[in-house]
């Protein structure tokens, strides 16, 4: 019988991770270096590696692949490195400085030297003002001067040689006619020119955010276009017959055609695969409330899942730019394995935000790193076996780790090296706990009601200590922890989202206005998913509104029943909003005269096209005596006890489902090391995940 496969490829900054699942749910994985000059090369290399495990040719594998999903950092990188295309921007007369004014770019930092404008995406010569004006009600105050606009477009394209265009006019989300006329002029003059109009990409109030979003879409167009075309071509040449799916920053997949039109939706999509995977694994294990913890080389990323719903953040700020983007709500801090530890002018130790990156990396890599990094800390107290890092692929230099910690931390603080390293370990844990607090306590969630799900190479060294600090009782470290994000790609659905500003007062507004807008948005979303091959029956629609009181500028997103709304539903909507408001800010916090002040600013429809997904494979329980998995003992300076003790060391490959150990212990896998402190028990479940239980 022929086997069919699903493939997920996650292109990260350093590694390209590839996961293949067969019909039975068995998973194979491979890693290759990311190849920025041509990303498809890294994918090809990973494919070449993984087929060895499968005993197939690449062509056989690809031709038998039913699902191929790719997560890519290409758009993220283009923005981070400011390597986008030369964009021409057309805006309303009188408002050419909107991007520079940037709504005032002051930050909450006392240091005036750090007060600099956001990155400049459009050169000032390439911003032109158009004679037109629409007012708050969508009425035309000054009609569009078509002849003038045409001259300006010609000048941008033919004299200034811009490579893509962006159009953002005031109030275009109320009346998009002027933007559409301009788009038509551009299409007639230059049929292949990439153009984004703000009423298409983000028809929502606040012109600065809308302009940034519009410009970013055009800015990232060519890089995404050539990447996506090249990728599909290469894979088709090697035998792939199905379309490639692309992961978006919302955690849903889209088609390459859609991604080419709206490349901005790929921004920051890198870490979302892991959150999706965490939620699927949570569903399997019966965990409804999950905090994810993903620690890699440069950052620690954490997100919250409540009742198996992934949280989103709207109007996201990316690279100091205020956008209208909706993203999976992931909080990142600069605390990865490569983050540098130092002593401040005040005489206190600090971790990050500077990172030694992959090159030279931590001092213990022996590649010339002179600064003590987080990985050096774990190495110095002997938590990591220097000969079994990445399964022995890299031998760590423990002496070097001890030297830099002694020189840069211990001596300035007047401590011995072991205590300095243990202190740094605590500081890393404290920083991560603060990050977890930011996504839980500060958003009205009690972390003690959550399980921590930790993946990424470095998390497992710290995760039990974080859980202890936060009062969390359960930690799960998944099988394949280091390729967990790629695995998440296989577990994702297709999704599309459309949003529209309505600014609708709940007490005064007519409910039929909501139904009209919801119907239009629902049709857009459904049509777009149908283009990707989903039938209406495979598509689930979710309706949401961004609610606020009166002049409040911070909105809460509230679920609205997906049905023909009636006047009677108003009470339900008010009640849902007030309940969520008081959950977040405290009982009685909602406004005086609340019912009359509720405004729904935006309506949003999200459509999900359900895909077939591989399951998790359950093994059989292998007994409870873990001594077979032990490879002996090692002297470790326990950071929580500040003493050196002889600690049992276990190997993941010898561990069997059902085995259980008590801390202190260390479990070594090929791609991660798990530290189990005193008071913590670790057990392997039937899916080969480790489940840690805290006293």
């Amino acid at each position: 019988m022929l086997n069919y496969y699903s493939i997920g490829v996650d292109i990260g900054g350093t590694f390209t991770d590839l996961v293949v699942a067969d019909e039975t749910g068995q998973v194979f994985s491979a890693k290759a270096f990311t190849t920025p000059h041509d990303y498809s090369e890294g994918i090809t290399n990973a494919l070449d590696t993984v087929v060895e495990q499968l005993g197939l040719s690449v062509r056989d594998l690809l031709s038998r692949t039913r699902v191929f999903v790719n997560g890519t950092t290409i758009v993220t990188n283009a923005l981070a490195e400011l390597k986008g295309v030369k964009v021409g921007l057309l805006t309303t007369l009188g408002f050419k400085d909107t991007l520079r004014i940037a709504r005032s770019a002051r930050t909450n930092d006392f240091n005036l030297q750090s007060q600099v404008p956001p990155p400049e995406l459009v050169s000032r010569d390439h911003v032109v003002e158009i004679h037109e004006r629409i007012n708050y009600a969508g009425e035309v105050v000054v009609p569009l001067d078509v002849e003038h606009a045409t001259r300006q477009i010609r000048n941008l394209v033919e004299v200034q040689n811009v490579e893509a265009l962006a159009v953002c006019l005031l109030w275009s989300f109320r009346n998009s006619n002027h933007e559409r006329v301009i788009k038509n002029i551009i299409h007639e003059l230059y049929p292949t020119m990439f153009v984004t109009i703000s009423s298409d990409i983000y028809p929502v109030s606040r012109e600065y955010e809308r302009m940034v979003t519009t410009v970013l879409n055009s800015y990232s167009s060519r890089g995404a276009e050539s990447y996506l075309v090249n990728l599909e071509q290469r894979l088709r040449d090697r035998g792939l017959t199905v379309p490639v799916g692309i992961m978006q920053s919302t955690g849903g997949i889209t088609s390459t055609d859609d991604a080419r039109q709206k490349p901005i939706h790929l921004l920051n999509s890198g870490p979302v695969g892991g959150v999706v995977a965490a939620n699927r694994l949570g569903e399997l294990l019966g965990l409804k409330n999950i905090i994810t913890a993903d620690m890699g080389g440069t950052s620690f990323d954490t997100a919250v899942i409540v009742e198996n719903q992934i949280g989103h953040i709207h109007r996201a700020r990316v690279n100091r730019l205020d956008t209208g983007l909706s993203l999976v709500d992931i909080h990142a801090i600069g605390a990865g394995g490569g983050s540098i530890c130092h002593v401040t002018d005040q005489g206190l130790p600090e971790v990050g935000p500077e990172s030694a990156g992959a090159e030279p990396g931590p001092a213990c890599y022996g590649r010339g790193g002179q600064e003590p990094c987080v990985t050096d800390v774990a190495e110095a107290i002997n938590l990591i076996d220097p000969h079994y890092f990445l399964g022995g692929a890299l031998t760590l230099d423990q002496e070097r780790a001890l030297e830099v910690i002694e020189e840069k931390i211990a001596k300035p603080l007047g401590l011995d090296t072991a205590h300095a390293a243990a202190g740094l370990y605590d500081l890393v844990v404290s920083n991560m706990s603060n990050a977890v607090r930011a996504v839980t306590i500060e958003r009205g969630h009690d972390p003690r009601d959550f399980a921590l799900l930790a993946y990424g190479g470095a998390s497992a060294l710290y995760i039990a200590a974080i859980a202890q600090d936060m009062g969390i009782r359960r930690v799960v470290i998944p099988h394949h922890a280091s390729v967990f994000s790629a695995e998440g790609l296989l577990l994702s659905d297709y999704s599309r989202s459309s949003v529209q500003t309505v600014n609708w007062n709940l007490a005064k507004g007519n409910i039929s206005e909501l139904n009209t807008v919801f119907d239009t948005l629902s049709q857009q979303v459904t049509a777009s998913l149908q283009d990707n091959g989903f039938s209406a029956g495979d598509i689930d629609l979710t309706w949401e509104g961004d609610f606020k009181f009166g002049t409040q500028v911070y909105e809460l997103t509230i679920l609205i029943p997906h049905k023909e709304l009636t006047e009677e539903d108003k009470a339900l909507l008010a009640q849902r909003f007030i309940a969520e408001y008081e959950r977040l800010y405290g009982q009685g916090a909602s406004w005086e005269n609340a019912e009359n002040l509720i405004v729904i600013l935006n309506l949003r429809v999200t459509g999900v096209g359900r895909t077939a997904k591989p399951g998790f494979v359950a093994g059989t329980l292998g007994g409870s005596d873990a001594s077979d998995a032990s490879i002996g003992n090692r002297q470790i300076f326990l950071p929580d006890r500040e003493t050196e003790e002889s600690v049992s060391i276990f190997r993941d490959e010898r561990f069997l489902p059902g085995m259980r150990i008590s801390g202190p212990a260390v479990i070594e896998a090929r791609d991660t090391t798990i530290y189990v402190p005193y008071g913590v028990e670790a057990e392997m479940d039937v899916y080969r995940n480790y489940s840690l239980t805290l006293a």
């Binding site: 400085d97 004014i101 005032s104 909450n108 600099v116 708050y136 009609p143 409040q552 500028v553 005086e592």
Partner: protein
């Protein structure tokens, strides 16, 4: 004895963990406030603050935002302790205050809530939150009264009184407040938000104390203060001992007479200690410009953090090495009741900051520590030209609204780069201005344009940040509007530092006879800055001006000043500013000595070098004797250096090495070439906005290296000729 000896044995990791946690807590309080408040004053202008104190009533964490609340929070907590005594305070209490004289408020519009924090029924500290609420009563809406004569006409005064007991708001107090303000519901909602923020702090500090134990928590609050003190002392000690002076002028024309109030500032550095003395400043005003002690302490401490301590979390230890002398009572910096104070923080307070930064910059440039030397800065425009309007909105309902385009003045140039455009007050961290669609959607306004104010950043090696130029018409079916406004910096611009030049000032203008509909019909487009006819300049402090059906309101906000001699700014940077339309060719020529071809969009390098030599020759009256410009650096360098070799005269020109004489009391100035120009004429010749001023003489004074012709220092001065009554 140096205080570092007082720190005995502590764990640096615990100190850092507790410090970071407290910083997170004040941030979480801020998040709570921002998310629950419906007031654009908080959400757009970010006019609020949060802080945590230890049992000693000293800061252990401060969130930033409105920095001047360093003073009001400190005095507010002290007022609660003083008035009630610890025995009369219980868990669940909260206290409210807004009075400058009895509770240290920076002005009445900023309402503070102070809550004790208990753990196991033991007092462990205090939480403080503050917000500028939409109204506090008094004769004018919005929290400031430009035409008041005393504190009683300005607002409802709250002298640190109990607002909540057992966690419940006291109904009597709530009713008094609601009866005395114009918009009771939003105001009481903001007060609720402040209480919520303090409750958050209470829970978090309790968790911290539970984890570490009270004694350890207390000890580390102390350790962190000591460490911050040591850091600032180390930096102050790197500055040569001496007295560094500056002078500013507070402006007021709200009672129909144009007056300038001199504000004197001297900074005396003695080893690791600094005294800031404001003695000799003008007698108090009967207008709302006087700054109470909370505002003065907050402004001075805020500057200290910005200049010397922005790299570490704020706590009370940072201020131990700074002593403040207010001078005799009865002045603008030390007023006596009933002198009005409702704009003291933005008028006298803002100018105090400017004066302190100017004096401190003179001191820092002589420091032996490169980090400290690199903290020199030019002066931000430091003006928040508030304007609020009442009338019918476009939906036919009565409305009162502040227009937060006022948070748009330019920031001063820094030693690391040009000043930020549209940065508002130095003291207003995280400032924002609303988007045009936000304002037009809610308020009866239609903007004609909103652009950067060209030429407003003062020229320098690094240029000041630019302000805004905007105009709008009332958009309420011909009903018109009534406005109140205050502009603290209309006549005296931000002074240039270390050889840089002043930035533009702020101006309000209006026209009462511009027919927008007709203009559009005739031209097919919206008018620009030069197209609106009939504009007249408005008084800077005005309680009621009408804007009729053919009215246009125009606001031009000023820029930050420049740092360093503009003739040293690399040609390529000036060319970029010219192409961007940031500066005009006239300014390029007059201030930067740069010749620009508007057709080719290129700077003529040869002609520019020749012009720069010519300008240096003009400065000196002869050709420069030394020319270092071939090796002119592309990074900022302070113009004065200090010899540390015995026997040499102390100060030299850092560019050509010429000895300039003694440091003390700026004696070195006697060795320089001094030129004095009438201020407004000089600024306008460059194309920089400056208001006229009757009754005073204003000068721009230049101090030039006699050998190389480099601008070493510029000063702005003003002297009274005769007080002039003015029209409306």
């Amino acid at each position: 004895m140096s205080s570092s000896e007082q720190v005995h044995s502590y764990d640096a990791f615990t100190a850092q963990v507790i410090q970071q946690r407290l910083k997170n807590v004040v941030e979480e309080m801020a998040t709570m406030l921002l998310r629950t408040s419906g007031s654009p004053v908080l959400t757009e202008a970010q006019d609020f603050c949060t802080a945590i104190f230890d049992v000693d009533g000293e800061h252990v964490a401060f969130s930033g935002y409105v920095v001047a609340h360093l003073g009001s929070s400190l005095l507010g907590v002290q007022a609660v302790i003083r008035e009630y005594g610890l025995e009369d305070i219980s868990p669940g209490d909260a206290f409210i205050c807004n009075d400058a004289y009895t509770a240290g408020a920076i002005h009445q519009g900023d309402v503070g809530v102070i809550s004790p924090i208990y753990h196991d029924s033991q007092l462990v500290g205090w939480a403080f939150s503050n917000a500028h609420v939409l109204d506090v009563g008094g004769m004018s809406p919005g929290g400031w009264a430009p035409e008041a004569y005393d504190v009683f006409s300005e607002a409802l005064s709250l002298p640190a009184i109990r607002i909540a007991e057992n966690g419940r708001i006291l109904r009597d107090i709530q009713r008094i407040i609601m009866r005395n303000v114009r918009v009771p519901v939003p105001v009481i909602n903001d007060i609720k938000s402040l209480i919520v923020a303090n409750l958050t702090a209470e829970r978090r500090v309790q968790e911290l104390v539970a984890k570490y134990g009270l004694e350890t928590y207390k000890m580390y609050c102390g350790v962190n203060k000591e460490l911050a003190d040591n850091l600032i002392r180390k930096r102050v000690a790197s500055i040569p001992d001496g007295v560094y002076r500056s002078q500013e002028w507070v402006e007021y024309d709200g009672h129909g007479i144009q007056e300038l109030y001199p504000l004197m500032c001297s900074v005396t550095v003695a080893e690791d200690h600094m005294t800031v003395d404001l003695s000799g400043s003008a007698a108090q005003s009967n207008g709302f410009v006087n700054a109470g002690p909370g505002a003065i302490i907050g402004c001075l401490e805020g500057v200290l953090v910005m200049m010397l301590g922005s790299d570490v979390p704020v706590n009370a230890g940072m201020f131990r090495s700074m002593e403040i002398k207010f001078g005799d009572p009865g002045t603008i910096v030390n007023p006596l009741p009933p002198a009005p104070t409702s704009c003291g923080h933005m008028e006298t307070g803002g100018k105090t900051e400017k004066a302190f930064i100017e004096a401190l910059t003179k001191a820092l440039q002589l420091s032996q520590d490169p980090w400290v030397r690199n903290r020199v800065a030019a002066i931000s425009h430091n003006c928040w030209p508030g304007n609020a309007w009442i009338g019918l909105d476009q939906y036919g309902e009565y409305t009162a609204f502040p227009v937060f385009d006022c948070g748009s003045a330019g920031i001063g140039a820094q030693a690391t780069g040009d000043g930020l455009d549209v940065g508002a007050f130095d003291m207003q961290l995280n400032n924002g201005i609303p988007e045009v669609e936000t304002n037009e959607g809610v308020y009866p306004m239609l903007y004609l344009y909103r652009r950067l104010h060209v030429n407003s950043g003062g020229p320098g090696f690094y240029r000041g940040g630019q302000g805004l130029d905007l105009a709008w018409v009332p958009y309420n079916h011909g009903q018109g509007l009534l406005g109140t406004m205050e502009n603290a910096c209309g006549q005296m611009p931000a002074h240039g530092t270390l050889g840089g030049y002043p930035g533009a000032v702020t101006v309000f203008l209006k026209s009462d006879n511009f027919d927008l509909g007709q203009y559009i019909r005739e031209h097919g487009r919206m008018p620009g800055p030069d197209d609106v006819t009939g504009l007249i300049q408005l008084r800077n402090h005005l309680a009621s001006t009408t804007l009729g059906p053919y009215g246009v309101f125009r606001q031009i906000t000023g820029g930050g000043s420049g740092l360093g001699d503009p003739l040293l700014r690399p040609l390529a940077w000036v060319e970029r500013d010219l192409r961007d339309g940031y500066i005009s060719p006239m300014l390029a020529k007059e201030a930067y000595g740069v010749v620009y071809n508007d057709e080719t969009k290129r700077v003529d390098a040869q002609a520019s070098e020749a012009l720069r030599t010519l300008l240096r020759t003009e400065r000196l009256g002869h050709k420069p004797l030394k020319d270092f410009t071939k090796e002119s650096p592309t990074f900022f360098r302070a113009p004065l250096g200090v010899f540390d070799t015995p026997g040499r005269r102390e100060i030299y020109c850092a560019f050509c090495g010429t000895d300039l004489g003694m440091r003390e009391d700026e004696q070195w100035k006697k060795q320089t070439v001094v030129r004095s120009h009438e201020l407004m004429g000089t600024m306008r010749r460059m194309g920089i906005e400056c208001q006229g001023l009757e009754g005073y003489r204003r000068d721009l004074v230049e101090y030039i290296c006699p050998d190389c012709g480099t601008m070493l220092q510029t000063e702005v001065s003003a002297s009274l000729i005769e007080l002039a009554p003015m029209g409306t």
